[in-house]
Amino acid sequence: MFQVILFNVTNGLIIGAFYVLMALGLSLILNLSNVINFAHGNFLALGGYLAFTLSPALGYWGALLVSPFITALIGLAVERLMIRRVYNRDPVYSLLLTFGFAFVMQDAARYIWGPNGLPLGLPEFLSQPISPTLFFITWYRVFMVGVVIVAVLGLFAFLRYTQVGIRIRAGTLDLETVASLGVNISLLRTFNFALGCLLAGLSGVLAAGQIGLNPNMGDDLLMPSFIAIIVGGVGSLIGTLFGGLLIGVAAALTTVFYPSASEAVIYAIMMIVLLVRPRGLMGEEGMMA
């Protein structure tokens, strides 16, 4: 039993790492632009599908590198053409806009790639388990966690040490001041949105290798990302990181004892957090008000 639990904690961290990547992108956009991107799951699917289409030409590794950037470019276009127009309006409009656009994207994926599930081929060695006892950890999962760690570190370094990154962080705290310093807020937000989509696209390629592709694949991952953000604390990327890992582990552990509640449990965690510590585990006071 102890071993089963230990396995599941490990496993939960792996799943959680995946939520983190998705939730960080969502969180970036939410913090700077005050927009909940309902289409985030669809950008994820888009990244996966692009990898599927590109991998015959570029190979798996080429697709892994290229498709997130194409996803980001598409995100950039979407932001410029549509989302930008609703920034200064009542939040109901940005929600409806991304919500509706999510429908269009999902349908487009179904139209282009078909309603059936598609597998994304992986290099042979990645599909093997790392050892007979740790059979549930395939090299692919190790690889996935590795990519997530690199991506998260890269993101934090970017936000910390580059000028654009610093502006994004500053804009999160006080957009007006940043604007008054002569920073082009509109471009900053566009770039930030594209950055969020880049992370979604990367998540998509990784997810495609694990669970395959289908037009609805983003839907099931969107809600856990929301929860990761709420639990971790809105406004705190570190919080999102821990939130994602926490719910990953919680869901995996629940599967040991009462599998059919593994989805419900993450919502229960959210309720408890809202009750006990409304601003989230690492959220700052006032951010959510």
């Binding site: 071993q3 089963v4 396995f7 599941n8 496993n11 799943i15 349908d107 179904r110 139209y111 078909g114 309603p115 059936n116 599930g117 598609l118 597998p119 081929g121 599909s127 093997q128 388990p129 007979p132 059979f135 549930f136 395939t138 692919y140 694990q210 669970i211 395959g212 289908n214 609805n216 099931d220 995996a252 599967t255 040991v256 599998p259 059919s260 593994s262 989805e263």
Partner: protein, 416 residues
């Protein structure tokens, strides 16, 4: 994508969908034609969007194919047939609404659907209330022709019990009696697992299992448990995309080296969605296209491929049988009234060019369940041609797998 091509081309006389809406709105009440000129309308409600869309689409394709075939041969009772397809979006409320729409507005004579048993059941409440003949081509849970059976409802696909009973002896004989179940937590999964457990207990076996959310994407936690249990057979009762994921993770974790894999259904659409190393295990098919010894099947498959550019699956066959069942029932009853068609269909035997398999295939009068053969065998990666993915090892007669009518719990009540 096949979906749009078929559904739009057939239904629209005018190119634009909106223009069609307009024409129906304005045209319907004012154009009065003689009844003989009016086509017989058959309504199908299926989840064309959502996780079951691939299966639903196959049923539509099969039904479309039959529609064309029937019309070419002079229609039903001398009238042409028109199939109207509505999307239930895998949502009960929408499914019920679309059923009412087909009955109230389009005046369909018959309703077909839904792949989702829950929606099929909710639809049957409506059709029963309206006394409309209703065929469920592909919703598997037992109650539809069991405890909740209705005089107007007939079913083509097997019950979950039939599938479980058909494959269990084969699995027990080949691999052993210690089983582990991975089952989706909804009616289909529950009835399927219960059926397996009943059959397994009869054989004196032991088991353990997990009930997982229906859209579960990660199976590692459960597979960890399964591995610890060391079963002879691991049964994957999941459906659709979830089943594919489960198969993939199963093979990724190398579990096939330690235990056999199997289950009730692993449909052609799903097998094709798996990478080659996950195309494995012992399963049932409710119909299989590769029956070289049956000339009707050989002809059907080649004609179907010519018309639709794909190999027919069991789902295509369900849709196909559904349409022909309407024809057979109407022609025997010489009427389109629900009660008369239902009466006519009881114990009606499908002709070979519809049954498309050896032996006798009939709708059992007691529970309105079709009694076809169940194809038990092994799934394997493509051999020769891309759709040759299954080797049939046994044909189990449906009646044998279904048990008696009393076992199903169906108490048929005649129409009031």
């Amino acid at each position: 994508m096949a979906t749009i091509r078929v559904s739009i081309n057939r239904r629209t006389l005018i190119k634009s969908g909106f223009a069609l809406a307009g024409s129906q709105v304005i045209g319907a009440p004012f154009i009065v034609k003689s009844l003989a000129d009016e086509p017989i309308k058959i309504g199908m409600v299926n989840p064309l969007t959502g996780v079951l869309s691939a299966l639903a689409q196959s049923e539509v394709d099969g039904a479309r194919y039959a529609e064309a075939e029937i019309n070419k041969k002079g229609g039903i009772l001398g009238r042409q047939v028109q199939l109207l397809v509505e999307d239930s979006a895998n949502d009960v409320g929408t499914g019920v609404q679309k059923t009412r729409k087909l009955i109230d507005r389009d005046n369909v004579a018959v309703i077909l659907g839904d792949v989702n048993s829950g929606i099929a059941y909710a639809m049957s409440q409506v059709t029963n209330e309206k006394k409309i003949f209703h065929i469920v081509p592909g919703g598997h849970t037992d109650p539809i022709t069991g405890t909740s059976c209705k005089w107007n409802v007939f079913r083509i696909c097997n019950t979950t019990t039939m599938d479980a009973n058909a494959v269990t002896p084969e699995l027990v004989k080949k691999f052993g009696k210690k089983w582990f179940f991975i089952t989706p937590d909804y009616a289909y999964g529950h009835t399927l697992q219960d059926a397996f457990i009943k059959a397994l207990k009869k054989a004196g076996g032991t088991f353990e299992g997990d009930m997982l959310p229906i859209n579960n994407t990660d199976f590692s936690a459960t597979l960890i448990k399964a591995k610890a249990y060391k079963p002879n057979v691991l049964l994957n009762n999941m459906g659709g995309l979830t089943q594919i994921n489960c198969m993939k993770q199963f093979t990724q974790f190398g579990m096939q080296k330690e235990m056999a894999l199997g289950g009730a259904l692993f449909e052609l659409e799903s097998v094709k969605g798996c990478p080659p190393d996950a195309q494995t295990g012992w399963w049932t098919m409710e119909w299989w296209w590769n029956q070289p010894k049956v000339p009707e099947v050989v002809k059907f498959v080649s004609d179907f491929r010519a018309a639709t550019k794909k190999t027919p699956s069991a789902r295509d066959w369900f849709g196909y049988v559904g349409m022909h069942t309407v024809r057979l029932a109407a022609e025997k009853a010489k009427s389109l009234e629900g009660p008369k068609m239902a009466k006519a269909l009881e114990d009606l035997e499908l002709p070979p060019d519809v049954a498309l398999q050896p032996g006798k295939v009939r709708y059992r009068a007691g529970d309105h369940e079709l009694m076809p053969n169940i194809f038990v065998g092994e799934v394997h990666p493509p051999k020769g041609e891309p759709d040759d993915l299954f080797a049939v090892s046994a044909l189990v007669p449906g009646e044998e797998a279904a048990g008696s009518v009393a076992d199903t719990g169906c108490k048929m009540v005649a129409p009031a």
